[in-house]
Amino acid sequence: MEPTLWQKSRPGARGVFPPGVPPEIFETRCPEGLRRESPLSLPELSELDVVRHFTRLSHLNRGVDTHFYPLGSCTMKYNPKIMDRIPEIAGFRDLHPRIAPEGMQGLLESLYTLEELLGHLLGMEAVTLAPAAGAHGELTGILIARRYFESRGDRGRTEILIPDSAHGTNPASAAMGGFSVRVLPSGNDGGVDLAHLEEALSERTALVMMTVPSTLGIFEKDLLKMVAMVKASGALLYMDGANFNAFMGLLRPGDLGFDIVHINTHKTLATPHGGGGPGSGPVGVKAHLAPFLPSPRIRKEGERFSLVSPKTSIGPIRSFIGSSLVLLRALGYLQMLGAEGVRRVALYALLNANYLRARLSGTLPRTGSGLCAHEFVLSAKELGAEGLHASDLAKEILDAGYYAPTISFPLIVPEAMMIEPTETESKETLDRFAEDFRKIVERARSNPSRVKEAPRRTPVSRPDEVSAARDPVLADPASLRAL
């Protein structure tokens, strides 16, 4: 392992020499009470020290660029390198966000174009690009629903219905939006149970949030019926469209009857995840909800673009216009794909998932049946007999030279392993993975104690998570020693 920056720090060492003036100038002229008194404990290193540090850290990390990453629900696909160039264009990279619209016509045109394209792909009449991530999009959509009912004087709708298979952000966003959450238990097939839905719907229901395809990688077979039921109840329909990669260009949430949908550009639209972010979570809505979209909105008049903040808006949900440099990548990707490419991406995402599903059949039982969408979920529950968890298998998979599938999600499947290969992986990679996975499951049955010891080929073995949580050390102690 690599020592930390502070463990390497050498008092007095200098790195990059920036423009500026000696700090003494400030210190002699600024009143004492306003000045920082405590020393500034940042690492002191040469430029080479820093370069080596982060180059070495990068070697301790797996990405799509280095390994197959079958992480379900996360759509870890290849993001074309050309998209990394777009945020480097000086006209975007170095543009001040508080410039008057005259100074950002190119930006506004680009974002407006993206709104239009997404609106078209989602079957929605208006799109906001403001949300910074999927969960942020959810919150936005939920606040829009709140305003919508308020605008109609309907103050009794305080409840949001969410399937138990949903991503954790769904209920968490509902709560942040001030709603109470009612959980819809899944039926035997992992889908929403119509009877339960029927029972749960009431005049208190503001919103029903559905993930399509569901987190089991399944398209609800009764989706259109559910939509009709919800509409009949007067509630709005929200679609968590994080799994856009499964249906982009094939099916439009708007056409299915949804009122609100968010997508994650950092899954489907060419923003690498960057270790957890940045992303962005555009939200599309039907016309009746458009007045409530967050401000500012981009308006087009003739060839000129401007920003407006309608009174009906829920207000801004973040600073400035949005994560522009992320959004431009999404636009670039859609422009590169074109109509044909967009469809092919989704079709091949389905093909790869189904192929891998078929290749893995007979290893661990799958939750759900028939064709899957872009991902599928296996359960490692039966290995409980050998004292093993899905997480143990995951470590063996790391050792075999892959990133691991998503584990412990969706919560409704015990010892879930959620596998999403994405369309950018080759058949060869899937074949190799299937073979290795099969061997690992066999090993789990024949030699469970060995599996408990995995991984062995990673830079570290299993970290002690219990003691990490018991007495959390969240900042480097060496940073205090240095003072």
Binding site: L57, M76, H120, G276
Partner: protein, 454 residues
């Protein structure tokens, strides 16, 4: 034209054969029950696709229609700052192993990012003078909103006091975030650029969850908080400071002012202006709030062989475990930008950061004193110290001057009328950072002078 699908025709065929399908279109049966009557979507607006070169031409020509800092010298801040960024930053942050990795849930395969997050948390905690920091939030505004939510939850109270020194757009974001809560936001006015102590004293009471101060304020002034911490704590509320991390290299830190929580926008730490995003929300806190705070946390631990290593910890606070009871709904955050800020801070080191901050301070003061020599121009809040931003009163509408400057390749101070109301129509919020040259300052002052004193 390109779709990044690696399959050869024969591979696709073999795969379909295994699945017993005729053509790839047969997979559409996945949706069959849900296929709307309207038929397949019309994709014509997406066009025929572009190759890399055509794509870059499209974007470059759009980029050319933006007055970025390469075409207009930036004397504007107001939440987004034009600072120096060393070349090594992008060389390191752009490495594929970082860029294309996911949230480090599998620690054995993610030590690089986990360690970087841990180091980022450390740097932010030290900069803000706090015990700990999280792995990032979306941006400064949402970080502030999340901090307010921590206070609301911790105190179970319903009044939030925000200093008028908070960026008014941030205040709106806080209000949006509180939309669904029964919480009232009250603004404590500034007096001469500092939070009115008497107004604050009057408002602090048993219903108050927190007071949030800003330093520098949105108007650039350095606010002062002696006794504020005690005032709040005695009333059972929390004290939050929103601070610009660049200025903290030299300014008294939130920790030194006795804050419980501190937030900031990380953009000044090595992120370009970026047309507004992605930015980097900073949140730091006293240790006792550790189980309250939102977002990811990387912690130090040991592996089975006793080697130092890192892991995401205290995940029970988070949405994927706690669901509707989670501290926040945040999932994806701004890790890559946290890494970027960390690389920036390590490259500059404490001395470099202090030097850059002193340069901003010095340039802003130079600009201010030169502009003040122009007849009819005066400094608003002359009795408050400022850091690298200041408000000037002009003899005419600020919008007019702003337009004139832009025509001369200068992004001048921000006209405040649109944000703060007509009373502020002749006021402009100027900023100068360490990268502004003496020539740029002199030229700008001359253009302003010439325009105002025709």
């Amino acid at each position: 034209m390109a779709d990044f699908i690696p399959h050869t025709e024969s591979e696709t065929r073999e795969m379909l054969d295994l699945l017993g399908l005729d053509t790839i279109e047969d997979l559409l049966s996945v949706f069959s029950q849900s296929m709307p009557a309207s038929g397949p979507p019309d994709l014509s607006p997406l066009g025929g696709g572009k190759d890399e070169r055509a794509l870059m031409e499209w974007f470059s020509s759009r980029g050319d229609r933006n007055l970025s800092s390469s075409r207009a010298v930036v004397f504007r801040g107001a939440g987004a700052y034009d600072h120096f960024i060393p070349a090594a930053v992008s060389a390191l942050v752009g490495r594929g192993e970082f860029l294309t990795s996911y949230t480090p849930y599998q620690p054995e395969a993610s030590q690089g990012l986990l360690q970087a997050i841990f180091e980022f948390q450390t740097a932010i905690a030290r900069l803000y003078g706090m015990d700990l920091a999280n792995a990032s939030l979306y941006d400064g505004a949402t970080a502030l909103a999340e901090a307010v939510l921590v206070a609301v939850r911790e105190t179970e109270r319903s009044v939030v006091l925000l200093s008028e020194g908070i960026d008014p757009e941030y205040r709106s974001v806080v209000e949006t975030y509180l939309e669904g809560m029964s919480v009232r936001v009250e603004v404590i006015p500034l007096e001469g650029g500092k939070t009115s102590r008497s107004a604050l004293g009057k408002s602090v009471g048993p219903n108050v969850a927190c007071f949030v101060g800003a330093t520098p304020t949105f108007l650039g002034t350095i606010d002062q908080f002696e006794g504020v911490s005690d005032l709040l704590h005695e009333a059972g509320g929390l004290f939050i400071i929103h601070a610009n991390p660049h200025c903290l290299a030299l300014m008294k830190s939130p920790g030194e002012w006795g804050a419980d929580l501190a937030t900031g926008e990380g953009q000044p730490l090595g992120l370009p202006l970026s047309s507004g995003g992605p930015y980097l929300g900073l949140l730091s806190a006293r240790k006792k709030f550790v189980r309250r705070i939102p977002g990811r946390l990387a912690g130090l631990t040991k592996d089975r062989e006793g080697r130092q290593c890192f892991v995401l910890t205290l995940q029970a606070r988070e949405q994927h475990i706690r669901r509707e009871k989670a501290n926040s709904n945040i999932c994806s955050n701004e890790t890559l930008l946290a890494l970027q800020a960390l690389v920036y801070m390590s490259l500059l080191g404490p001395e470099g950061l202090r030097r850059a901050a002193a340069g901003s301070w010095s340039n802003a003061h130079d600009l201010c004193s030169r502009l003040r020599t122009i007849p009819g121009v005066s400094l608003v809040n002359p009795d408050a110290d400022f850091f690298h931003e200041f408000v000037l009163e002009l003899p005419l509408e600020a919008d007019d001057l702003s337009r004139h400057l832009l025509q001369n390749g200068i992004l001048g101070g921000l006209p405040l009328g649109a944000l703060l109301g007509p009373a502020w129509g002749r006021r402009m919020l100027w900023c100068a950072t360490e990268v502004r040259s003496e020539t740029e300052i002199a030229r700008t002052v001359e253009i302003v002078r010439h325009y105002l004193v025709h």
